[in-house]
C-alpha cells in the first residue's frame, strides 16, 4: 500500500473521484495552475484539463454560490476555500442556499457540493489564518460537517463527501497535513510515512460519514475529539498514564451518537477537546448530548478543554492552543472528581 501525507491523500481522493465521474469539478483560488497553496490539487489540472480543475478569482461568495448552482444541475463541485478563515463571504450561500435547497424545493433539487477548507491553528497564522469555524457549520441544518484526522480517513471521507448528495463542509486540519502533530510544538513531528494511518490505498474506497473511530480503547474516561486534537489527546493520555478511550468523531454532523453513548456509559467520565473558542463551540453540543444521554452513568462532571474566548493570537499561539499539558490536567481533574 502507498504511504501518503494528508495532502497526497486528499489529492488522491479528488483524482479518484474525477476519474470515476466526470460530473466532478475542482476549483478555487490558485487551485488549477498553481496546484493549491497547500498543493492539494497539484497535477489535477494537467491530468483533467482546465475545464475540470481551474482557478477562480478571489471571490469566495462567487465560488460557493456558483458551486451550489452547478450542483443543483447535477455536477459534483468540490470547491476549495484557501483557508477556512476566508469562507465568511460565502457563508451566506452555505447557510441560506446550500443548506435549504432540498427542503424548500420539496426534494426536487439537491446540492451535492463539497467545500474543502484548511482549518485550525498551530502554524503561527494569527487571527485570520487559524480559525476553527466547525460549530458555525454544525449549527446549520441541511449541511454536513466532516473533519478527518489522518490521511487514510481524509481520502475515504473526501470520496464519501463528493459522492454524498448533500452539501458537505470538509475541514482539513492544516497542522496535520504533514504529520500527526500532538501539540508539542518544540519537538519534531513524526511524518505520516511513519504512522499507520499514513497507509492509503491508491484506489477508490470510502469512509462513511457519521461513523466515529476509537483511536485508543480505555476504561477510565472518554475523550471526545476530532482533527488535530486526536493526537493531543493521545499524548495527554500517554503522559498522564490515564486509561482514556479516545473517540475521533470524524464527522460532526451527522454525529455518531451511538459511539459516544457506548463509550461514556462504559467509562463514566468525559473530557471534550477542541481548538475552537469555548462559548457555543461544538463541545457545548457534545456536553449537552452526554448530559442528556449518559447522565446516570457519569461519575464526574464533563470537562471541556478548548481554545479561549479570544481571537486567535499571533504571539500567544501556544497559550491558546489546547496542548497536552492542559488536556492532561483535565484528565486528572475528571479522575479526581469522584
Amino acid at each position: 500500500m502507498a504511504r501518503m501525507t494528508m495532502i497526497q491523500a486528499i489529492r488522491s481522493a479528488m483524482d479518484v473521484a474525477m476519474d470515476r465521474d466526470d460530473n466532478v469539478v475542482v476549483f478555487g483560488e490558485d487551485v488549477g495552475y498553481f496546484g493549491g497553496v497547500f498543493r492539494c490539487t497539484q497535477g489535477l489540472q494537467e491530468k483533467y484539463g482546465p475545464q475540470r480543475c481551474f482557478d477562480t478569482p478571489i471571490s469566495e461568495s462567487g465560488i460557493i454560490g456558483a458551486a451550489i448552482g452547478m450542483a443543483t444541475y447535477g455536477l459534483r463541485p468540490c470547491a476549495e476555500i484557501q483557508f477556512a478563515d476566508y469562507m465568511y463571504p460565502g457563508y451566506d450561500q452555505i447557510t441560506q442556499e446550500a443548506s435549504r435547497i432540498r427542503y424548500r424545493s420539496n426534494n426536487d433539487f439537491t446540492v451535492p457540493m463539497v467545500v474543502r477548507m484548511p482549518t485550525g491553528g498551530g502554524i503561527f497564522g494569527g487571527q485570520t489564518h487559524s480559525q476553527s469555524p466547525e460549530a458555525l457549520f454544525a449549527h446549520v441544518s441541511g449541511i454536513k460537517t466532516v473533519i478527518p484526522s489522518n490521511p487514510y480517513d481524509a481520502k475515504g471521507l473526501l470520496i464519501a463527501s463528493i459522492e454524498d448528495d448533500d452539501p458537505v463542509m470538509f475541514l482539513e486540519p492544516k497542522r496535520l497535513y504533514n504529520g500527526p502533530f500532538d501539540g508539542h510544538h518544540d519537538r519534531p513531528v513524526t511524518p505520516w510515512s511513519k504512522h499507520e494511518m499514513g497507509e492509503v490505498p491508491e484506489e477508490h474506497y470510502t469512509v462513511p460519514l457519521g461513523k466515529a473511530a476509537v483511536r485508543r480503547e480505555g476504561a477510565d474516561v472518554t475523550m471526545l475529539v476530532y482533527g488535530a486534537m486526536v493526537y493531543v489527546a493521545e499524548a495527554a493520555a500517554e503522559e498522564t498514564g490515564i486509561d482514556a478511550e479516545i473517540i475521533d468523531l470524524r464527522t460532526l454532523l451527522p454525529l455518531d451518537m451511538e459511539a459516544i453513548e457506548k463509550s461514556v456509559q462504559k467509562t463514566g467520565r468525559c473530557v471534550i477537546v477542541h481548538e475552537a473558542t469555548r462559548t457555543c463551540g461544538y463541545g457545548a453540543e457534545l456536553a449537552a448530548i452526554v448530559a442528556e444521554n449518559c447522565f446516570y452513568h457519569l461519575e464526574s462532571p464533563v470537562v471541556r478543554v478548548t481554545g479561549w474566548d479570544t481571537p486567535y493570537p499571533h504571539a500567544h499561539e501556544w497559550d491558546y492552543f489546547p496542548g497536552p499539558a492542559r488536556v492532561g490536567a483535565a484528565l486528572q481533574k475528571v479522575m479526581e472528581d469522584a
Binding site: 483560488e29 495552475y33 478563515d85 494569527g126 487571527q127 481571537p311 500567544h316
Partner: protein, 330 residues
C-alpha cells in the same frame, strides 16, 4: 470623466522633493529586506508579505495627503505604515510578536494600526478592509471635515464582491474616498490575466460612474500627480476616484513561495528597467543632481534606523501571557 487612462500632467519634481521620496522609499526597501532576513533567521513567524518593488505607490500618495487623511490597506502593509510615519521599531516589533509592537504582538505582520497616524490597518482578509475605507469617507463627510480616505487594495482583492458594494455606496453618496488598486500583476500565483475579465482595473468603478486612471506605479512622481488629481476630486466633494497603480512585487507572495507562476527573467527585467528607487535616482540626475555622497549618506542613515528597529524588535520582551485576554471588550 471616467476612463481617463493617464494623467495629463507635467511630471516633474524638485530635487528637494525627490530626495525626500528617495529617502522614504529606501526606508521601506531596507526595512523589508531586514524583515526578510529576520524571517529567514526564525525571528518572525507565520505570514509576512514584503512590499519591495511597490515603494513608489505609497510614497507618491503620501506626498498628496493632508493631515487628517486616513489610510487603510490589506495585509501587505509595512510600506503603508512606514510611509504614514509610523515608527519602524513598533512595526518590526509587531513582526517579531513582541510587547513593543504596535499591537503588542497580538496582530502580527498583517494587523497593525495607529490612531495617531490615521492608519486604520492592516487587514488579513482580502477585500474586507475596502468597505471600511468607504465608512471612513462617510465619517469625514458626516463630520464636515475635508479629509479623504485612501483605501488601498490589490489586483486580486479587486475581485472580491464587497468591493463593488462599497464602490457603489461611495459614488451614490459622493464620499471622499480614493480607491487605490495596487496592480502588481499577481494575486499569489494567479496573474491578472487569469482572473480578471477586464484587465484594466482603473475601470472597476466605471459601472458606478466613478472616474478611474491608470498610473505608472513605479514612478513616484507619476503616482503623486495622479494622486493629486484623485485626492482633489474627492476633497472637493465630487466623490470617489479609482487609481490603478501598475506596479510589481519583487519577492514572493509571502515568505514561502515557489514562484512557479513567473520567470526569474520577468522579475529581473522589471528590476532593471523600472525599479522605483532607480527611477528616482534618474529623475534626480535629470534635475542636475550629482551628489553621490548625499545619497550614500541617506542610505547610511536609513540603515541605522533599520538596524535600530531590528534591535528593538529582538530586545523587546515577549508579551505576558495574560495579554491574551485583554483588549477584547471595553
Amino acid at each position: 470623466m471616467a476612463d481617463d487612462a493617464s494623467a495629463k500632467t507635467n511630471l516633474s519634481a524638485t530635487t528637494e522633493e525627490l530626495l525626500k521620496y528617495y529617502r522614504d522609499m529606501l526606508l521601506i526597501r531596507r526595512f523589508e529586506e531586514r524583515a526578510g532576513q529576520l524571517y529567514g533567521m526564525g525571528h518572525i513567524g507565520g505570514f509576512c508579505h514584503l512590499y519591495i518593488g511597490q515603494e513608489a505607490v505609497v510614497v507618491g500618495m503620501e506626498a498628496v495627503k493632508k493631515d487628517g487623511d486616513q489610510t487603510i490597506t490589506g495585509y501587505r502593509d509595512h510600506g503603508h505604515m512606514l510611509a504614514c510615519g509610523m515608527d519602524p521599531k513598533g512595526v518590526m516589533a509587531e513582526l517579531t510578536g513582541r510587547e513593543g509592537g504596535y499591537s503588542k504582538g497580538k496582530g502580527g505582520s498583517m494587523h497593525m494600526f495607529s490612531k495617531e497616524k490615521e492608519f486604520y490597518g492592516g487587514h488579513g482578509i482580502v477585500g474586507a478592509s475596502v468597505p471600511l475605507g468607504v465608512g471612513l469617507g462617510f465619517a469625514n463627510r458626516y463630520r464636515e471635515n475635508d479629509s479623504v480616505s485612501l483605501t488601498y487594495f490589490g489586483d486580486g482583492a479587486s475581485n472580491q464582491g464587497q468591493i463593488f458594494e462599497a464602490m457603489n455606496m461611495a459614488q451614490l453618496w459622493k464620499l471622499p474616498v480614493v480607491f487605490i488598486i495596487e496592480n502588481n500583476q499577481y494575486a499569489m500565483g494567479t496573474s491578472v490575466k487569469r482572473s480578471h475579465s477586464d484587465t484594466h482595473l482603473y475601470r472597476r468603478g466605471a459601472a458606478f460612474g466613478i472616474p478611474g486612471m491608470e498610473v505608472d506605479g513605479m514612478d513616484v512622481v507619476a503616482v503623486r500627480e495622479a494622486g493629486r488629481q484623485a485626492v482633489e476630486h474627492a476633497r472637493k466633494g465630487e466623490g470617489p476616484y479609482v487609481l490603478e497603480m501598475k506596479t510589481y512585487r519583487y519577492r514572493g507572495h509571502s515568505m514561502s513561495d515557489p514562484a512557479k507562476y513567473r520567470t526569474r527573467e520577468e522579475v529581473d527585467h522589471i528590476r532593471e528597467t523600472s525599479d522605483p528607487i532607480k527611477r528616482c535616482e534618474q529623475r534626480l540626475s535629470e534635475n542636475g543632481f550629482s551628489d553621490e555622497d548625499q545619497l550614500k549618506g541617506i542610505d547610511k542613515e536609513i540603515k541605522a534606523i533599520v538596524k535600530g528597529a531590528a534591535d528593538f524588535a529582538l530586545e523587546s520582551p515577549e508579551p505576558a501571557a495574560d495579554q491574551l485576554f485583554t483588549d477584547i471588550y471595553a
